[in-house]
């Protein structure tokens, strides 16, 4: 079998503009089952936009997306989650006035029926499931029943990550800066978590600005520069210098 057909996700020449801003330009890459790929690039390089094109939050202007070799149109986040893509968003991750279980189950609340007809939120089960998920993220939150606006930045981040994990059958997890608000210890826990997820056979696309993190988890690295691919490299056959060079726009390399 060729590498082509083995790819879990393939993105071909996709582009997206916001008015005059060409946020993503002619981007192509593949993601293979069970690998961790880091997406790097300067602020405004187009990382979040690219992720959102894959998760269905944005619609591409041009290009094609293939999922397990078949062409797909990811017209909404629903479509993405049905085919097995889950994303943790950098910006619009949480609903502030709702508690942690409410956020984790947003849009897919568990329902119990009283008297066999009246559908009610099954808060008890959602709370139990939430505790299990948070235990996986290993970040401690004393009271999960508070509106998330009252949590610390790291606790909010943990909630957003846990939410993504909740998509149990997701084959591809997209994490947009999952470590951004975390303390040193929590960062390590999330890195450990990413490794565990990889062992489970999931594919992970993770955005980060921290090269230490990237080199400790990533198999491959994709670098974006002003919306276009500056490089796709094997993480074990590159150096920090090279990556930094690609990020600031000094070089070009494509291992694919």
């Amino acid at each position: 079998m060729s590498e082509y057909s083995a790819a879990l996700l393939e993105v071909k020449n996709i582009g997206k503009s916001f008015g005059a801003v060409r946020a993503v330009r002619n981007v192509s890459f593949q993601l293979f089952p069970g690998e961790v790929v880091a997406l790097l690039g300067d602020n405004g390089a187009g990382k979040s936009t690219l992720c959102k094109l894959i998760s269905g939050a944005y619609q591409k202007d041009v290009g094609e997306i293939f999922w397990q070799g078949k062409k797909v149109e990811i017209t909404s986040p629903d479509v993405a989650s049905q085919i097995g893509i889950a994303m943790m968003y950098q910006d619009l991750a949480l609903v502030d006035e709702v508690d942690i279980p409410g956020n984790i189950f947003l849009g897919r609340e568990l329902i119990k029926k009283i008297f066999g007809i009246v559908p009610l939120l099954d808060k008890h089960t959602m709370r139990q499931e939430t505790e299990k998920l948070l235990a996986r993220v290993k970040i401690n939150i004393p009271d999960i029943n508070r509106p998330v606006i009252k949590l610390s930045g790291g606790q909010r981040q943990a909630t957003a990550i846990a939410r993504t994990l909740h998509a149990k059958d997701a084959k591809l997890l997209i994490l947009d800066e999952p470590m951004a608000a975390l303390g040193v210890q929590e960062e390590q826990k999330v890195i450990q978590l990413i490794k565990t997820l990889k062992e489970e056979g999931r594919t992970i696309l993770v955005v980060s600005h921290n090269l230490d993190h990237v080199f400790s988890v990533a198999d491959r690295i994709i670098v974006l520069h002003t919306g276009a691919v500056a490089g796709i490299v094997d993480a074990h056959k590159t150096s920090r210098e090279e990556i930094v060079g690609l990020i600031v726009g000094g070089g070009k390399r494509n291992d694919q």
Binding site: L92, V95, L106
Partner: protein, 327 residues
């Protein structure tokens, strides 16, 4: 180590966390009796609860609308329109009293749904959309009535508005039951949860949660409309009649009550208990004004000022609590 709080500290915490309107009401109950000896009479107190009932019913719906970061200025016109159509039907016998309850709820649901559809389908901001429909519904009411006044309705309808269960006015029983159900829906149902979530972060609901936001928004206005319908039926019962100018300015009264109660115009934060207090506080103030002989226009001045004051106070409190202003 957290030391056990003494009972005095606990009491202080309790007092500190009481709703500001509780203090307002205590103050009113200390001051108003000095101005009018009739204020504290049981008869007068029961009158207040009867007066505020219809406001409370609609305010429960408005609490949902405002929590979802919307607003509905059409409630007064909707109420008048339903009141006139149903009063006419009751009068000429085409709508039997028992059926009228279903008619008002159905009509309200549809008229409210129209508000929701104009907002979500035509993409018009709630403020403008509902002003437009406020004028439209009022115009329809005048067209329908053509200057006519309807009086003397069937006995059961009049009982609905004027009757009592023991000393407690029937409308008060209905409105408190509705408030309780409103609280319960917020806490335990998906509809209530989405109302909060949409008001709090609509984009996240759409993108992260995949929630059909427009459908729920429309449903929120329809729910509000259904409550307006119930309010309309009690209103024509209480007045034992109606005309096309019914419930003018009603919407301001309702919005003032809800906002005073602490439901945030920024969306996402609601308090049914606060709404009950807000409605009741305004009711007491109005009653006091009537007792001291203030006229209708003075009352409106006071309601207007209360609305402005309560919004300013809400903004102040949110800034003090460090809640960031949402964009």
């Amino acid at each position: 180590m957290i030391s056990e709080k003494t009972s005095i500290q606990k009491l202080w915490d309790f007092v500190k966390n009481l709703h500001p309107l509780v203090y307002m009401l205590i103050l009113l109950y200390l001051v108003v009796p000095l101005l009018s000896s009739r204020f504290l009479l049981l008869q007068n107190q029961m009158n207040i609860t009867r007066q505020v009932s219809i406001y409370l019913i609609v305010s429960i719906g408005m609490t949902y609308v405002i929590t979802s970061k919307g607003i509905d200025l059409s409630v007064g016109s909707t109420l008048a329109f339903i009141a006139c159509v149903v009063a006419e039907g009751l009068k000429n016998g085409t709508i039997p009293p028992l059926v009228s309850l279903f008619v008002v709820i159905g009509m309200g649901f549809i008229l409210g749904m129209v508000v929701g559809l104009v907002i979500t389908k035509l993409k018009i901001p709630p403020f403008i959309a509902s002003i437009g429909l406020m004028v439209t519904y009022r115009g329809l009411t005048h067209l329908y009535m053509g200057g006519k006044v309807i009086v003397r309705l069937p006995e059961p309808i009049v009982f609905l508005g004027q009757g009592s269960l023991g000393p407690i006015p029937f409308p008060a029983v209905i409105s408190l039951t509705i408030a309780l159900i409103g609280w319960w829906i917020f806490r335990f149902t998906r509809f209530g949860r989405y109302t909060v979530a949409i008001g709090s972060n609509e984009a996240a609901c759409r993108v992260v949660g995949g929630i059909k936001v427009n459908r729920y928004k429309t449903l929120i206005y329809a729910f509000q409309g259904a409550l307006v319908g119930i309010g309309a039926l009690i209103m024509i019962g209480r007045l034992n009649g109606t005309s096309a100018v019914l419930a003018e300015g009603f919407e301001m009264h309702v919005i003032a009550s809800v906002v005073m109660g602490g439901t945030s115009l920024q969306g996402g934060r609601s308090s049914i208990f606060g709404t009950i207090l807000g409605v009741y506080t305004i009711g007491v103030i109005e009653n006091a004004m009537v007792l001291v002989g203030a006229d209708f226009h003075t009352q409106r001045v006071i309601i207007g000022l209360l609305l402005i004051f309560s919004i300013a106070f809400q903004g102040y409190r949110e800034r003090k609590m460090g809640v960031l202003e949402k964009t």
